[in-house]
Symmetry: C2
Subunit: 190 residues, 2 copies
């Protein structure tokens, strides 16, 4: 049998990502996935192997897409402007299945159960923090933020503030938008 | 049969809170609870009725205790100093079963499932935000922060920053402690 075209597979992974992202790991059954992907158990198994294997693909897709969007934005408007615009763009995206970060939700749900997906989420969160650090460093090279600021420290705080904003966004979009604006204003003052 | 003394009941609720807080709602089975509380199914049912009823008691106890601790601290050191010390105190408390906020964890896990406990967590989070607002207002009355700052806005951002710091703390205590310090420094500059 010829291999299925990869765009089909990507579409299935994206749909699974949205279910996992909004409902959580424990809140998503194999049956939920089979229904969402319109796959029979045998086809599901042949395509992805297991719920956890699909979750890992979805998590990686989520992180890769987020990373690619932020890098594209930085190429377009520069590092500092990208960091300033990023929080609001997350909140405004209608494509997002949930407002909270999928990596953080996964980590919170699974690390007390010593689940390997928590380690994966942790690594991907560190990868995002490194991208933020690179962008703060670029902003410094561009002369947009003071030389004496530590990009590592700025990235750590930025990621923490984003995580808080995104938890807030699950409860109130207007509150989260106000916070996004404050985060951007804070960066302008660096 | 005489009613059990309430301190016993409080102790059971505290133990249940710690299991729910660290393992989450879906991650905690009735069996886990019966083992933790050393209760047989019949006694568990007689004492608490259901897992959800006990979760609600635990959630309320969690919020009440947090509120009481912060109010006691404010009476002792004043509103602004209490707000500044609060983030670090959360991280340093060895009594906490998890670093992330139990209200936020509950909300994130359950609101997409339209579970009534998510509404309860939402209300309790709003109650904490109101306490923060009161304290920012008191700090203003004390002359410790500028008159032109909006206590409501400050409270919203403070809560969001705390939530982010507490998600960070699940991954790295040292990173979270650095953020706690930055939050405190930020309040000193108001």
């Amino acid at each position: 049998m010829p291999r299925k075209p990869s765009f089909d597979r990507d579409d299935l992974i994206n749909r699974a990502r949205d279910v996992f992202w909004s409902r959580g790991w424990a809140g998503t059954s194999l049956k939920d996935l089979e229904q969402t992907l319109k796959l029979k158990p045998g086809s599901f198994y042949a395509a992805f192997g297991s719920k956890d294997a699909l979750y890992e693909l979805a998590l990686e897709k989520y992180a890769e897409d987020g990373r690619a969007r932020l890098e594209a934005l930085a190429s377009e408007v520069g590092a500092l402007e990208a960091l300033k615009a990023h929080p609001k763009r997350i909140l405004d995206s209608d494509a997002n299945a949930a407002k909270a970060c999928m990596l953080a939700k996964t980590y919170l749900e699974l690390h007390t159960h010593d689940h390997p997906l928590a380690d994966r989420a942790d690594t991907l969160l560190s990868g995002m923090e490194t991208l933020f650090e690179d962008l703060f460093h670029r902003a410094q090279t561009d002369g947009d933020i003071a030389k004496d600021r530590d990009p590592k420290r700025l990235a750590r705080r930025y990621q923490s503030d984003l995580l808080g904003m995104r938890v807030t966004a699950e409860r109130s979009k207007s509150d989260a938008l106000a916070i996004a604006e404050e985060i951007a204003d804070g960066l302008s003052a660096l």
